[in-house]
Amino acid sequence: MTIIALILSILLGTASLATGYLQAGAIDYPRWFLLLAGLWLIAHFRKWYWFSSAALLMMILAAAYGVWHGFSTVWMLLGVVGGLLGWDLSDFARRLSYAAPLDDTRSMERLHLGRVAIVAALGLGLALLSVFIRFQRLAFEVAVGLVLLAALGLTRLVIGLRK
């Protein structure tokens, strides 16, 4: 179950990025995303678990590059979400490999996939909301201030939760 979800996530992420790049006319890049997807899957089955972090980084950089060049934000967002899911499921599959044969991994898999789906949906929903809702009258200085405030708040929240 987890492996199928992992494969689908990787394909979702890379295919979204490839589509976004293709739509923008960057026809040389999609093959690299397909190569990344293939490498990621090979790395997972060969138990090179570190590769998933590198792949996530690459996908986020690719999405950021696409956003910078004005490619479709939705496809880029889907790429990030796919990469995030792939990264999470790859680590979860690694953790499951430590389980003993008689451990009840089925219910853990179901629970995890459910939670991750909620996280992905929530993240994607919020991101799409932020893309489509725009305040035209907000000055740049105010926006920067809000972002800094958000970053500070986020940091405080994380520190608080860690405690």
Partner: protein, 433 residues
């Protein structure tokens, strides 16, 4: 790099990229990561409090026999979504994987609700040794594994894998001095017993059965009575040679296990006879087990032997430093060692000090030849030369009135002891053999 750190760095990277480039879409890209981080932290367990209890199917076992380890882990804290439990095995022990299902391992991935317990079991085996189980490791994380905590959960347990003990019927030793209690060692003193000791003048109070009529017939004025040899317990010090240079051979072969087995069997037999037995391990250090009697002493010695290891030390490289003051004067010393040429002088000195010395020597020459290729003429010749040197060494020891048991380890130890140290049958003794 931890998962939360990686996600945080990526998030901040996107936030600052958004600020620097004045592109709101960068912030949108960061939102799924932020959601993931926040939900991960929100789901993190509040309080991790695990307790564990360990049960072993046996606390004493023989080498390579199976011992079941059962662990029960109870969650006394908040709900734990994902706990990876792994028992920390003492080095030397291995998990026996039974090919038939269910497979039993020391690592389990479980969910533990508040107050819930989880029990798992697995089977271990290992070579001789003393093993201490201290704790198991639990890796606790939320479902998204944003926060990971590792905790050690104390679960004590001890397992002694004792050396094999061969039952020996009787070990005939004759130290000069014995203790006052009745035992099985001939005491070089007349009194009550079973073995004939001598004839003396009949004393009032002697049993009429003890009168030696043949001797009394020679003299008309007095009667003579038989005297029997007293049998008492003795002090025995077993010295186990654990020096690396005498026990270890090429390709990882070692005679030490045989030496340990011999020491354990001898200690068991001598304690069964009621003697007071102590053990000295002579290796990189001196491991002294105080002398004592009975079953408790047997346990002490077996535990000491379970932990005995070979070792190398400049100080104890030869036998000059055997602390003789640990052994009562004129007592019995049993020295278990493959022997080297340098050992001759210290052993003769021990004998000269009045100790009765018995050397049990696993034969290193035959041991080495048993695994070397026999077709090689060079090895054959070298083996013969070394064998002659060893024979010479053993002869010198015997000439110094040291009893030597040369043990070819392919032969069972009890067979050798029965042949060399066993009590001969009465009819054989009667004809003086």
């Amino acid at each position: 790099m931890s998962r939360s750190l990686l996600l945080s760095l990526l998030t901040y990277g996107l936030l600052f990229a958004g600020i620097a480039t004045v592109h709101g879409e960068f912030l949108a890209l960061a939102l799924p990561l932020v959601t993931y981080l926040l939900l991960g932290y929100l789901q993190a367990p509040e309080k991790i409090r695990l307790e564990a209890a360990r049960q072993l199917s046996a606390e004493r076992a023989s080498p390579n026999s199976n011992v079941d380890v059962t662990l029960t882990v109870t969650n006394r804290g908040s709900n734990l979504e994902e706990v990876l439990l792994e028992d920390i095995l003492p080095s030397g022990l291995t998990i026996r994987s039974d090919p038939a299902p269910p497979l039993r391992t020391s690592r389990h991935l479980v969910r533990l609700a508040k107050g819930e317990s989880y029990t798992f079991a697995y089977t271990v085996s290992g070579p001789r040794g003393g093993y201490v189980f201290e704790a198991l490791e639990a890796q606790v994380n939320d479902h998204l594994a944003v926060r990971r905590s590792r905790v050690r959960v104390e679960a004590q347990g001890r397992l002694f894998i004792l050396p094999p003990v061969t039952r020996l019927r009787h070990i005939a030793i004759r130290p000069r001095r014995t203790r006052v209690y009745a035992g099985m060692i001939p005491a070089r003193a007349g009194g009550t017993g079973t073995e004939f000791f001598g004839v003396r003048e009949y004393q009032p109070g002697d049993s009429p059965h003890s009168i030696n009529w043949r001797a009394s017939a020679h003299y008309t004025d007095t009667l003579y009575a038989n005297e029997y040899q007293q049998e008492r317990v003795a002090d025995v010090g077993i010295v186990l040679d654990g020096r690396l240079r005498t026990n270890e051979f090429a390709r990882g072969h070692s005679l030490f296990e045989y030496s340990v087995q011999a020491a354990a069997s001898i200690a068991d037999a001598l304690l069964s006879q009621g003697n007071r037995v102590g053990l000295l391990l002579y290796a990189s250090y001196l491991g002294w087990t105080l002398p004592g009697y009975g079953k408790i002493q047997r346990e002490r010695i077996l535990h000491a032997l379970a932990n005995a290891q070979t070792g190398d030390s400049e100080v104890f490289s030869d036998l000059e430093h055997i602390p003789t003051r640990l052994f009562p004067p004129e007592s019995q010393i049993v020295f278990v060692s493959p022997l080297t040429d340098d050992d001759l002088k210290p052993l003769i000195q021990l004998r000269a000090q009045g100790y009765d010395v018995l050397v049990v020597s696993p034969n290193p020459v035959k041991f080495e030849l048993s695994y070397l290729p026999s077709s090689n003429p060079g090895i054959d010749l070298a083996g013969r030369v070394i064998h002659m040197e060893r024979l010479l060494l053993l002869q010198r020891l015997q000439r110094a009135n040291i009893h030597v048991l040369d043990w070819d380890v392919r032969e069972p130890f009890d067979v050798l002891v029965k042949r060399k140290l066993g009590r001969s049958p009465v009819w054989l003794r009667a004809i003086g053999r």
